[in-house]
Point group: C2
DNA sequence: AAATGTTTTCCATAATGTGGAAAGGGCGAC
DNA sequence: GTCGCCCTTTCCACATTATGGAAAACATTT
């Protein structure tokens, strides 16, 4: 009964369920999904439970209805980013890593948090390990600040109102005044510095990448141990980062906004 | 060795691979993924192949690198839509279905095509079956036209330039003039009519749903067999559709743009 | 041309997924 | 309030199906 050779039945079935959950049809209880997929109810239940434990499916016990989970959304987003941003970014990140000998990152803002979407790891033994794929409060990260600084003041204000400040280390920004002073500095300098504001012992220099529509859609950064990436080194590193960010902007046909 | 009871091992592993592919790390060849996931190479290969056949993974034979596939993107999108749009829409669509006795739909525009994201099926024996989840050229669907009509003329022009017109039936729009005449009519009337332009035998009446930022982010429609949903009925149906679209707009905190 | 590393195919083994059936819940009808 | 229906969840015996080692094909480097 193996019509398809070399593929994993249970995985194939789980994917079918994911697609059924994504379909507009509103028959989405266990028994509906079982019927629609042609699987046994118990099998369907086991597969859905598996998807749920991993956050790929979401179950509302109230109505009994199953929907696609947030994890699937995160994974899915990586597809759209990939073609338009990550692919052109990779060689540039590698260059940057080799020039600086530190870890080079590409990040975007999603759901008001900074997310790293591509990374080229430093080859040094001691290297900065920004949790890859991890989500960081925008104002605690170099990449986040680089992007936010391109926003109008009013939007930044709203952001702070909405999520407040969450100082993570003794160096983190603590007041609205701090933030605006910092934003101003970023605008003047053309790059953002995370000076042990996210994790003690790590510094990070970031610059924005611009879209065709002159929106800052991403940021390039270099992160390194504070011990090696000292304040003295920041200007030289910043020059490289700004340069590579501009190169990526060009590669994707973007254009910096005129401030 | 069953530490997790009641979950499907192979599916769990496949999900791990999906997440690894979505992670920023650029070690994404078969052997890298095997190492990172801790699975045997042959197992990893089989799982990836399974994901690939279904479009959830993408393999570039050139570089050997694996990335997340487009199917994962489509599935993932349904998550973000769900919370903000589909959930509030469901009861409204059901109402609309019961009022009109025809199939009620909610659609959005994605990648310049109209996609149905929720649906409440008519209970009649003969009912319109707009392929649910199917993608339709924007200008061949009521929902698409209802949304596009809210765009500035220049944007509509670009759209036509980019994808051309693809008449699907003898009633479809065939020239740029047709389109603009139609768009004008929609703006005046406040609803869009698909008069057998997508499939002969089906009529469809649609009205836009507005976001907080006064952008038309979706459309509500009723689709029925032309034999039952005659031209005479259109005005009455349109009133219901416009009404329900406004109700949904209100439910999501949206506001219609002032024309 | 040899050596190293990576992807793909094959196969014996038993671990793992499967679906029927029974137990457990929830909801509406009477 | 109780019964009865339908839907969800758990259980279990069975063999189908997934598994990983090894070998074969393919690429890349020295």
């Amino acid at each position: 009964m193996a019509q398809d050779e070399g593929i994993v039945q249970s995985v194939d079935r789980a994917l079918t369920l994911l697609e059924l959950m994504a379909s507009p049809d509103d028959a989405r209880r266990l028994s509906d999904l079982a019927r629609r997929s042609g699987l046994a109810v118990s099998t369907t239940h086991r597969l859905l439970t598996t998807l749920e434990r991993r956050g790929f499916a979401l179950h509302d016990p109230q109505s009994g209805s199953w929907t696609v989970g947030q994890r699937a959304n995160l994974v899915g987003d990586s597809f759209s980013l990939h073609g338009s941003l990550v692919v052109p970014a990779r060689p540039i990140l590698r260059d940057l890593r080799d020039l600086t000998r530190e870890t080079a990152n590409l990040g975007v803002i999603e759901a008001e948090e900074a997310v790293t979407v591509a990374q080229s790891e430093s080859r040094e033994i001691m290297r900065a390990i920004a949790p890859p794929g991890g989500r960081v409060p925008v104002l605690n990260s170099g990449m986040g600040k680089a992007i936010v600084a391109t926003w109008p003041d009013a939007a930044i204000d709203t952001l702070i109102e909405r999520q407040g400040l969450r100082p993570l280390t003794s160096h983190s920004l603590r007041s609205k005044d701090d933030v605006f002073a910092e934003i101003h500095r970023i605008r003047v300098q053309g790059f953002a510095l995370d000076d042990e504001e996210y994790v003690i012992g790590m510094r990070c220099v970031a610059a924005p990448v611009w879209s065709e529509m002159s929106e800052a859609i991403a940021a390039v950064s270099v992160s390194g141990l504070a011990a090696r990436l000292t304040r003295d080194h920041v200007p030289a590193i910043a020059k490289q980062v700004v340069d590579k960010a501009a190169q990526l902007t060009k590669a994707i046909g973007g254009q910096a906004a005129t401030l």
